[in-house]
């Protein structure tokens, strides 16, 4: 029988285009210190550290766990570095939770980060060669295929952008804030990767996110109400083969089915109070709503259109402003996991969903082929 895992501390940085006031190490420590303060712990109290980030070549630091060991208090301690593409922030939190659930460690600090300003992500993505298509160029055909298949009206993409940008105004840590956002403004923003417009895309951010995870005893002693892990799941599938469907990938379906079964969720639309999902381009909201089983196939966009995914709707999605508002790539997945936990702890501040008790965090990566999810609640499993 696995040990219970509590989330007793959560911290994140102010995400910005350029955090010139901190080094890599300073960025991680800012998030880590906030998580430790929340848990009323010090760096000394931590048994093990698990960090996660996107490819090293985005920032020019190979195996950053080596350099970061000093700043993260890891002299004499175990530190690991997870790398599962865009899903890495989620996978990193899951590896940390496994260290607790296996009974091997009692107090684990997990931090995911990206300092895009100190490297060149598009250069990194292209492997240093000309003609790199970037993430948007890669995913754009999948979005068009979804639009064609579901017959969703064009304005649904704009609606997601407006919702997430309005939500970001309620999140003091969010990077991109567009106070006068309107459907027209999204519609009139330049087309970058047909059918993706500039305001339907995520920014490039510097930022980090951290969580302190403990065993059940640690959760019972926590100074602030903890969130409890009720399920974790990861799935990977081949990136390209004949007949693979990147619009509704099986890996995402399986990941959701697995994590919901662990948490006893039979009707996700009804049983889940708040969702933080990985939406770097607006159309991914309706696509993932279907992929994860919150809507039937072809019906995801109707939830968005009906306002179901707004704060105050039936199934609020990305109340934090999501990846569309802050995208420190390696941290973006962990931010989803952490925001879901903040919600069930009642600590989400202005973007809190009243009475949220069951939250879902989701991240994806690669060619829509890596998936990580967890379900957290305000009560023990």
């Amino acid at each position: 029988m696995a040990e219970r895992c509590a989330i007793v501390g959560i911290g994140q940085t102010h995400h910005r285009k350029v955090r010139e006031d901190v080094s890599f190490a300073g960025l991680l420590r800012e998030a880590g210190q906030r998580a430790l303060d929340d848990a009323e712990m010090t760096w000394r109290d931590i048994d093990a550290v698990v960090i996660g980030t996107a490819p090293d070549s985005f920032e020019g630091v190979m195996m950053p766990e080596l350099y970061l060991a000093d700043a993260l208090g890891c002299a004499g301690k175990p530190i690991m570095r997870v790398h599962t593409a865009g899903s890495v922030g989620g996978s990193t939190a899951i590896v940390a939770s496994h260290l607790i659930q296996s009974g091997i460690r009692k107090r684990v600090l997990t931090i995911a980060f990206e300092k895009q300003s100190e490297g060149d992500t598009t250069w990194g993505l292209s492997g240093g060669r000309s003609g790199g298509v970037g993430a948007g160029g890669y995913f754009a055909p999948h979005l068009r295929a979804y639009i064609a298949r579901s017959k969703a009206p064009e304005y649904v993409g704009w609606m997601v952008a407006v919702k997430d940008r309005l939500n970001a105004l309620k999140n003091p840590y969010a990077h991109l804030k567009v106070p006068d956002i309107t459907l027209e403004k999204v519609r009139d923003s330049p087309m970058v990767w047909e059918p993706v417009r500039r305001l339907e895309s995520c920014p490039a951010s510097d930022g980090a996110c951290a969580m302190v995870l403990t065993d059940e005893a640690g959760g019972d002693r926590a100074p602030h109400k903890p969130a409890w892990v009720h399920g974790t799941a990861i799935r990977s599938e081949l990136g390209q083969f004949p007949g693979r469907d990147p619009v509704n990938p099986k890996g995402g379906q399986d990941c959701a089915a697995d994590v919901f079964a662990q948490a006893g969720i039979t009707n996700p639309r009804k049983d889940v109070d708040v969702v933080e999902m990985y939406v770097p381009f607006s159309w991914y909201e309706p696509m993932w709503l279907e992929n994860l089983g919150f809507a039937e196939e072809g019906g995801g966009w109707k939830l968005t259109e009906d306002g179901v995914t707004e704060i105050g709707g039936d199934l609020p999605v990305n109340c934090s402003g999501g990846v569309l508002s802050s995208n420190p790539i390696g941290a973006s997945g962990m931010l989803r996991f952490a925001e879901a936990a903040l919600q069930v702890r009642g600590q989400a501040g202005e973007h809190q969903v009243d009475g949220a008790r069951t939250g879902v965090g989701h991240a994806y990566g690669g060619a829509s082929q890596f998936f990580a999810m967890w379900v957290v609640r305000d009560t023990k499993p």
Binding site: R129, G131, V133, A140, P141, A145, F241
Partner: protein, 182 residues
């Protein structure tokens, strides 16, 4: 190995010091990619048919990723240099160190006749951006023989094909391109 741009510090306090790091890699073209490259230089597109599941992969990988068995030259098949657009996007190139693209351009996934999977990120030639659609039939515009260089990693078609132009045939039906979004 290191190149620091002295001009950046000219105005006000130093905020950033760009340090361009260059690392040299020697990628030896693997034997399967090398054979594929030789065929391309001859004007032929080849693939491997998995002896277990019969799917044809272009370019060949030297194995079937679904059955996890090796494939060899004995499994080689020749593919037509003609097929249908299954997915596409128009890119506004982001500028980064080494980027040579400056203008908007279209890239498409193309399902070649005789292949089971698409070749991705292919240039379309002489096709107005607003006329690109799934099912559009296209054929290869080959580069001059001396310019046909395969990708050293075995990805894509290298420089062997300048791009793809419309054949004028009727569009393929949706049933043929659905399921090939990648």
């Amino acid at each position: 190995m290191t190149d620091t741009d002295p001009q950046v510090a000219d105005d006000g306090p130093v905020r950033f010091m760009p340090q361009l790091i260059s690392l040299d890699y020697t990628v030896r073209t693997n034997p399967v990619a090398a054979a594929f490259g030789e065929a391309l230089a001859d004007g032929r597109i080849t693939g491997h048919r998995c002896p277990s599941c019969s799917l044809v992969f272009v370019p060949p990988k030297g194995f079937c990723p679904i059955c996890t068995i090796e494939t060899t030259s004995a499994d080689e098949v020749v593919i037509e240099d003609r097929g249908m657009v299954t997915a596409w996007t128009v890119l506004t190139p982001i500028q980064y160190h080494g980027q040579q693209e400056r203008k908007d351009y279209a890239l498409a996934s193309i399902l070649l006749v005789g292949a089971d999977g698409t070749v991705g990120q292919q240039r379309l030639i002489d096709i107005p951006l607003d006329e690109i659609r799934p099912g559009l039939m296209v054929e290869a515009v080959w580069a001059a023989p001396e310019d046909r260089v395969a990708d050293d990693r075995g990805y894509g078609l290298g420089t062997a094909i300048d791009g793809w132009k419309a054949t004028g045939e009727p569009d393929a039906p949706a049933s043929e391109y659905e399921g090939h979004t990648l």
